[in-house]
């Protein structure tokens, strides 16, 4: 994976929301790289900033939010563009959205308009980004629907979104996202709203598509098992900070940050039986308006060191094997 060229580099990104209650530091100093064809998983609980990270990349942060710091460099054809510098309603970013970088959402009902057929909406995307006729676009849309395993694509292309089942809608949305062959697909909780057997179908489909089309993938979810199925690399976020990131096989075998360890221990695991001991993390995620001082995890941390963790924000420590962790328990060697 290191041989493939760098596709997207996020450096020290900070996105804040300004409201009457104060400043919400949704994303605060997050850095990561994605190479072409690589799959990155971003995991964390609600309010950790994982979705806002994705919104920042596509420059679709809600109105009261603003990228206050950092760079997001997209590399294409040997050139790099800093997405942060682009006008979020300008021509350039609109070419990138849906073209270079596409996104699928948790709720397919929210991504499709109710009053147009899915075919209408997919061909619109294709014609927006590619120079082709209505008929060509329709053929490509049918081809794409077939590719995502939609039964009878010639007929379903004229169906309205509400006429499709949850799993089929999810497939239609993936087809729409992939219709312009993006270099990067961002999937925000792609399987949270669907049943477990449909989840298995969607995960399998995404794995196949990623391999066949050679695109990079960012999967955003709270479900570590989904990430384990799909991703090469994992980044764990907590209250806007990237607390740990490592290759998937490393982080699940040998997690370093107390939060990652806690997350892995607090999920009952299938196959471990009735008597398995859960070890929940104490407390709950604090309100983002009252972010704890020092390390944001310190009030819930079992390894809390007084006068260190609650005072200083831990720096990012580079361990062996591309393993990065933000915790005072570790020192740079």
């Amino acid at each position: 994976m290191t041989q493939s060229p760098l596709l997207l580099s996020v450096d020290n990104l900070a996105t804040h929301f300004f409201s009457q209650e104060g400043i919400l530091e949704a994303v605060d100093g997050v850095s990561f790289d994605i190479h072409a064809g690589e799959a990155l998983g971003i995991a964390g609980e609600s309010g950790c900033g994982k979705s806002v990270t994705a919104q920042s990349i596509l420059r679709i942060v809600p109105k009261n939010g603003k990228i206050v710091m950092g760079e997001i460099s997209l590399f294409q054809n040997g050139e790099s563009v800093d997405l942060v510098q682009l006008d979020d309603r300008g021509q350039e970013i609109r070419q990138i959205r849906g073209g270079e970088i596409a996104m699928v959402f948790q709720e397919p009902m929210a991504a499709f308009s109710m009053v147009y057929t899915i075919g209408n909406q997919i061909t619109e995307v294709i014609r927006l980004h590619q120079d082709c006729s209505q008929n060509e676009a329709r053929d490509r849309a049918i081809e794409m629907l077939r590719r995502v395993g939609m039964p009878k694509p010639e007929q379903t292309i004229d169906a309205y979104p509400f006429a499709l089942s949850g799993g089929m809608r999810q497939r239609a949305m993936i087809a729409m996202a992939l219709s312009c062959h993006p270099a990067l697909l961002i999937a925000d909780e792609p399987t949270t709203a669907v049943d477990v057997t449909i989840q298995a179908q969607v995960l399998e489909l995404m794995k196949d598509l990623q391999r066949d089309m050679g695109m990079a993938l960012i999967v955003i979810t709270h479900d570590l098992a989904v990430i384990s199925e799909l991703c090469d690399r994992v980044m764990i976020m907590y209250l806007g900070k990237d607390v740990e990131s490592a290759p998937a096989d490393v982080i699940f075998r040998d997690p370093k940050h107390p939060y990652t360890i806690g997350l892995l221990r607090s999920v009952p695991e299938l196959g471990e039986g009735h008597s398995q001991e859960l070890d929940p993390i104490s407390g709950s995620v604090p309100s983002p308006y009252r972010r704890p001082s020092g390390c944001p995890f310190h009030p819930r941390c079992p390894e809390f060191i007084p006068d260190v963790c609650d005072v200083h924000l831990p720096p990012q420590i580079e361990l062996a094997g591309g393993h990065r962790v933000r915790c005072h328990l570790y020192v740079q060697d």
């Binding site: 609980e45 989840q199 999920v267 009952p268 859960l278 929940p280």
Partner: protein, 381 residues
């Protein structure tokens, strides 16, 4: 009420129950019919009519729950598991008569042995029986009235049933309940918005336990919560069960939670029970192809332990439409082992244990005996 004797004061931490505190009921007689069943459900049906047109013509029925029979023994946890639309929630609500079942009987046995047929009760009689039943819902953000304080929410059952009239006594009782779910009683005058999701679910649990019920229906109680908080609520439910000798009917779609919490499990598909038996034996060796597929569909974290990887079975298509149920076995359009007979003849729920004398294990499949299905591998025992 068997109240928690050691209660940490107010912090949001959970304690682990010390070993050996499981009630006697859990040890023996578990899962055997007759002995001491809190609930016996026989042929429960709930059909929703499909009405069309201006005159609301009756054009068909959605068989949300179709001839479901099971029992819940005192002190055990029975899980109802299945995908959306399988009828698990409707079953849970029919058992409480929160909605009226279309047919069948629900027999509830009180702690003193008195048997009551819930389906034949009048409204006032039902109300007095519902005292012995609690219910916990999925979303603690919508299940608590935002205009009432925690004191009012948890105290409401006492007030409406005129069980406690003195203000002081009510506050004491609510404080005790809050302590039992590991919440600080000084918070009782706050409104729900001041609490996090996990704390709200604790409040909902305290409300469900207010009248000291024997039997609690928990409908997806952790699905709306953050991952790290789910574990706290699951451990709390387990501890409360052993402290208060509760019997749970646990409705969920999450198989890992089923394995962690339940003694027996009933797998539902399109309104029917397709497999019912001990959780450990079903998870180790399922007998219905749907159970096998469900188990294999659950994604697992690759921790590098040997033998974790299982072969995944991807089911084709979607869950059948309960208003237009396929002929024969309802699962046949998705079943990887389908034979001709499955398309025509509907299989019956048969107890496989009859042959080898082990604990009851019901399966609704023509080929339950022949198929060798894979379960979850490293299950202990």
């Amino acid at each position: 009420m068997a109240q928690a004797d050691a209660v940490p004061n107010g912090t949001n931490t959970t304690t682990h129950s010390p070993p050996g505190r499981l009630p006697q009921q859990l040890e023996g007689g578990k899962g055997l019919p007759g002995a001491d069943n809190v609930l016996e459900v026989t042929d429960l049906r709930k059909y929703f009519p499909i009405l069309r047109g201006f005159f609301r013509r009756h054009v068909g029925e959605v068989k949300a729950v179709d001839e479901v029979s099971f029992h819940v023994a005192r002190g055990e946890t029975l899980a109802l598991v299945g995908e959306s639309g399988c009828g698990k929630t409707t079953t849970g609500r029919c058992v409480m008569r929160a909605i009226e079942p279309s047919g069948g009987s629900v027999l509830f046995r009180k702690r003193d042995g008195e048997e009551i047929d819930i389906t034949s009760l009048t409204r006032p009689e039902l109300r007095s029986v519902q005292q012995h039943m609690g219910m916990i819902f999925q979303d603690p953000f919508s299940s608590l009235n935002p205009r009432l304080t925690v004191l009012e929410i948890i105290g409401e059952p006492f007030v409406t049933r005129k069980l406690i009239t003195s203000r002081r006594e009510l506050e004491e009782r609510v404080a005790q309940l809050l302590r039992s779910v590991r919440l600080d009683p000084t918070y009782m005058r706050r409104y729900p918005h001041a609490f996090s999701g996990g704390q709200r679910q604790r409040i909902a649990i305290a409300r469900a336990l207010a009248l000291d019920p024997d039997f609690v229906v928990a409908d997806e109680p952790v699905s709306a919560l953050d991952v790290s908080v789910q574990a706290q609520i699951l451990s709390l439910l387990k501890e409360l069960q052993s402290e208060l000798h509760l019997t749970y009917l646990f409705i969920t779609h999450n198989l890992s939670v089923v394995e962690y919490l339940s003694d027996r499990v009933s797998v539902m598909y399109v309104g029917q029970i397709v497999e019912l038996g001990r959780t450990d034996s079903i998870f180790r060796q399922p007998r219905h192809p749907y159970t096998e597929a469900l188990l294999s569909a659950v994604p697992v974290v690759e921790t590098g332990k040997a033998g974790r990887r299982r072969e995944r079975i991807i089911l084709e298509g979607d869950v059948a439409d309960p208003s237009n149920v396929p002929a024969g076995c309802t699962f046949h359009p998705r079943c990887p082992y389908v034979q001709d007979i499955c398309r025509v003849e509907e299989p019956q729920l048969v107890d496989l244990a009859g042959s080898n004398g082990s604990l009851p294990h019901f399966v609704r499949c023509h080929f339950a005996e022949e198929l060798d299905l894979q379960g979850v591998r490293n299950s202990p025992q």
